[in-house]
Subunit: 113 residues, 2 copies
DNA sequence: CCGTTTTATCGTATATTTACGATTAACGAT
DNA sequence: ATCGTTAATCGTAAATATACGATAAAACGG
């Protein structure tokens, strides 16, 4: 069998998919895992939290939590600041609000052609 | 190498991850792809739309769009009703609102221990 | 400088997602 | 009955995500 390369017909956003759709999807995707929602909730509740504190509260290994934190950081939903040997994480409420806003705007698409 | 089976330490939601986290994640994940956001937006804008109409407006093959529609349907974000040889899809705004509400509630976690 | 603590990263196994063409199924019209 | 149209499903390739143990890296205390 000849190994056929699969590439989307059009490199994405070739009309029909807008900038906002991509931003919304990016943020939603980052929250698209229960562990990550739990992490954000935890950080919002406590204001801030050391990585180890998060690990203690979740049924996941340290490496896994670290990876989820990385995803959240890349999406801008969480920020981490080094504090001695540990890292102090805190949620970025603006980013969560941004997501909320984008969804609200999506809802308000209703009726627009 | 002995093939070791990987199973999460605790079958998920073993404390630390709540019901709401899972629901939010489930909905967010469904919107976690640009094409699916675009589809929902399109359906909200037009009120309803035949599958083919969606295919025409996106840079994706029919099979791919159908698969995205399936994901959206399973998440309850979209409903489809058979209409002769075609299927008439429409968005389920309540589900989008539900997501919006869950995110809002997440934000309001701020400060709670 | 050495050990401890804390977190990130590497390596890896497995599962899921994403995309497509091809095929099937369901319907209306002829 | 057969044909054309429409949409779902199958099969499959490739990419990404998820999880873990093991190891590396950074910082502090002694």
């Amino acid at each position: 069998m000849t190994t056929t390369k699969r590439i989307p017909l059009i490199p994405a956003r070739g009309r029909g998919i807008g900038k906002e759709d991509e931003e919304l999807a990016r943020l939603a995707k980052a929250l698209g895992h229960p562990a990550r929602v739990a992490i954000v909730r935890l950080l919002l509740a406590r204001g801030e939290c050391v990585c180890g504190g998060i690990v203690d509260r979740l049924p996941l290994a340290q490496a896994t939590v670290s990876q989820h934190l990385k995803v959240l950081k890349e999406a801008g939903l969480v920020e981490g600041e080094i504090d001695g040997p540990r890292v102090c994480y805190c949620a970025a409420p603006e980013a969560v609000e941004r997501l909320s806003h984008l969804i609200q705007a999506l809802i308000e698409t209703k009726g627009r052609t």
